[in-house]
Structures are given as C-alpha cells and as structure tokens.
Symmetry: C4
Subunit: 124 residues, 4 copies
C-alpha cells in the first residue's frame, strides 16, 4: 500500500469530563485520538498539549508501529503529566512519517452516552 | 514548533437552543468554536456572524494569545450584540496569523446531552 | 470580506428516519445542509440526490442570497420530488459562486436526540 | 456531472460495540462508510482494515456502481473475514475512480442512540 497521510495534525477541541455514570472502561468519559500508520515504517510522534491560561505541556512521546492503528486515550497519558479533567485543551501531533488522525469523544456524564468525531486538521 | 493552521475559517452551522435541562455551565446548551494558536504571536481575529434573513453582524474582536487555545462560546458574545437564540446562523473567522478552528455543539434540550463536532472549513 | 468557499460539495451520508418522538419542528428527525454564502453575489445551486438502487434525482434548484446562510432541510424538498424516508441517499451541490457546506443530522427516533455534523467534501 | 472525489481515503476510527439495545437493523450498533460514486464509471474499491496488535486484513472487494451511493456497514463484511467486535480498528479505501467517503457510527449500547460522523481523510 502507498503511504497515506500527513505529518502534522491539530485538534483544537479537548475536554475530559471528570464525571461518568459507568466505571466500565469502554463507557468512561474519554477523549481519543485515533491514529493510523498505514506505512511500512514505525511512526514516532511528539504530542504537545495547549491550554487556555498556561504554557503548553509536552512532548508526550508516542509510537505507532508500521501497519498498525493506535486509539490513544488522552485520559491515559501520564508522562510528562496527566491531562487535567474539566479543563479546555488542544493538541498538536508531529510525526516523522505520514499518519492520519481522527478525534473522538465519548461523553457519559449523563446516563446515556454522547459521541463526537472529526478528522483532525492536517499539514505537512 | 512550526506554525500550523490557516487564516480564514468558516462554520456554516450555528444554532443555540434557548432551552437546557441544566443550569450548570458545563451542561447548558452551547455552541463553541475551539481555536488553537500554536504559534509565537498573538492572534487577532475578526468574527462575522451571518443570518438567513438579515445583514451580517460583526466584527466581534477576539484575541488568542500565542501558544494558547480558546474555546469560545457563541453564547457569551455580547459586543456588538448577543447571538439570538433559536436562530440559524453561520460564522467566518479572519485571523492575522495561522490558527486552527473546530466547531462543537452541546445540546441539552432533553435530559441527556447530544454532541456534534467538526473541523471547520479553512482557507488562506 | 473576501470570498470564502468552493463551488462543488458532496455529502455521502443521507438518511431521514420516518419516526420522531416529537412533532415540534425543531425536534423532528431531519437532515440539514448548512450553506454559507459569504460573498456579494447570490448563489444559484443545483442539488443532485443519489441513491443505492436507482438513478439520481435532480437538480433541485436552491438560491442562497449574498451574505446570507441557508440551513436547508432535506425533509422540506419537494421539487422535483420529496426525499424518501428510511432510505440511504447522498448529495452533491454545484454552485455558480463559492459557498461552504456543512452537514448535520438530528435524530429523534428515541426519546433523546442524537446529533452528527461534518464539513462536507469540497472541490472547485 | 463532473467527476467529484479522490481515490484514496482513510478512517482511523473504528469500533463496533457487541451490545445493542435493539435488534431492529436500523438501530443495531454499527459503523458505516458512506461511499458516493457520482461519476459515470463503476468504482472498484479495495478496503484494508488495520488493527492495534496484528497484521492488516484485506483487501475486501467493494463495487459501487456509476451514479450510485453505497452505505457500507462494516458489520456486514465477511470476506476475507468478519470485523471483530469490541476491537479498535482503522480502514483505508483505494478506488480506481474518484469517490467520496464519509464515516458514521450509530451506537446503541444504551437505551438512547448516539451518532458520530466525519468526512474521511482523502488523497489521490
């Protein structure tokens, strides 16, 4: 397969609600960056997180092996520091090989879930 | 970080329901433009709002500092005038430096919330 | 304002549920194409609707005046014929001036509403 | 109508919940790729599915006739093998003629449905 994708991606929307009606992992409120690396070389990605009122945090190092997808939960990030809950943020992904990034949020603050998704903004 | 983004963005969909089941700020029905300015210079943005049956309103002046994100609620805009509720509108953002814009609506007219989101249309 | 947009847009997803829990117009299940014409000339648009198992229908003629937005409900189309309910369809918009198109569905088959939205695919 | 679209499309997000509250086909949890072939030649498409921890599967052969749309449910794919439930995946579409692809998920794990949709990432 030919390489598909871009090397720089931005997701302006980010917000992890602290509340969830479920403690089942699949239904806990979460933000996900779905990353596809369809190429033959591993992708080494630097993720930077931006906030409204303080300096950006990062890079968070991420590896997506060749011909694999990673559905990265922002909830799971810990190094250099966890993403604060109930706080607006944004994110930028910089990869050494072309990737494709899609943003999804599952929101289970209320009894029923809500979903959003969009392909991120790409350059490079 | 290299600059990422474009200078002109459009969001054709806009609608702020007047009803919400919650008065908690996070769960009041709202329309948001999530703006990321990942660059080293502050972004000065002119927002124009379009309607179905009358002349556009604006510019609404918006500043997003360097290396910050702003999750702008249309509900909060007051100058030159508030956005009417229960009314179709659209919006265009013109910035002096590259930014990235994502549109999100949280709709809480009913007991459970609904969400939508999409990266806006970009040029420039 | 400079002109913003493209002249050809496609929305592959289309589906109008026949059922709604509400008869209030704002909460009836509907598909919407939000069209922004930010320019100084009226937009004359030809909409063609595609199906899975029969020939396309159209053009549906649409006018969006200069500096106006139209949130077009597919439910309301009647000429040359209404869009069938509970049927997969897709749509293409061809305009004589640049426009921006965003697709939104409100689904109220169940007691609570669901929303989806995406900026359409653009060319031209 | 002029041809509209691209020949290579990627959808990084994929996840089919095994649970649904309804057994009615329209309301069973499903992932859909809405494909529009607005041109005058049939589209022959090779779909490849990527996973987190194993090799990609495919190609799944898909035909969308000229001037038709196909709302393809990943749930229905069987050859070379069904898509596993409750598993993260991603997909790439390679077509011999231009097409447009939009991704939609209906999630009915809970009593009320949730929807997401985005135009896929395009190249070619």
């Amino acid at each position: 397969m030919e390489v598909i994708g871009r090397t720089r991606w931005a997701i302006p929307e980010g917000y992890i609600p602290s509340a969830s009606v479920s403690s089942e992992r699949a239904l806990v409120s979460h933000e996900t960056a779905c990353i596809l690396n369809a190429g033959d070389r591993d992708a080494h990605i630097a993720l930077t997180v931006f906030f409204a009122n303080r300096d950006p945090v990062g890079p968070y190092p991420i590896v997506v092996p060749a011909r694999r997808t990673l559905h990265l939960r922002f909830n799971d990030l810990t190094d250099p520091q966890p993403i604060p809950r109930d706080t607006d943020y944004a994110s930028v992904f910089e990869s050494d090989v072309p990737i494709v990034v899609q943003h999804t949020r599952l929101d289970s603050r209320r009894a029923e879930i809500a979903l959003l998704s969009t392909v991120a903004y790409a350059e490079g």
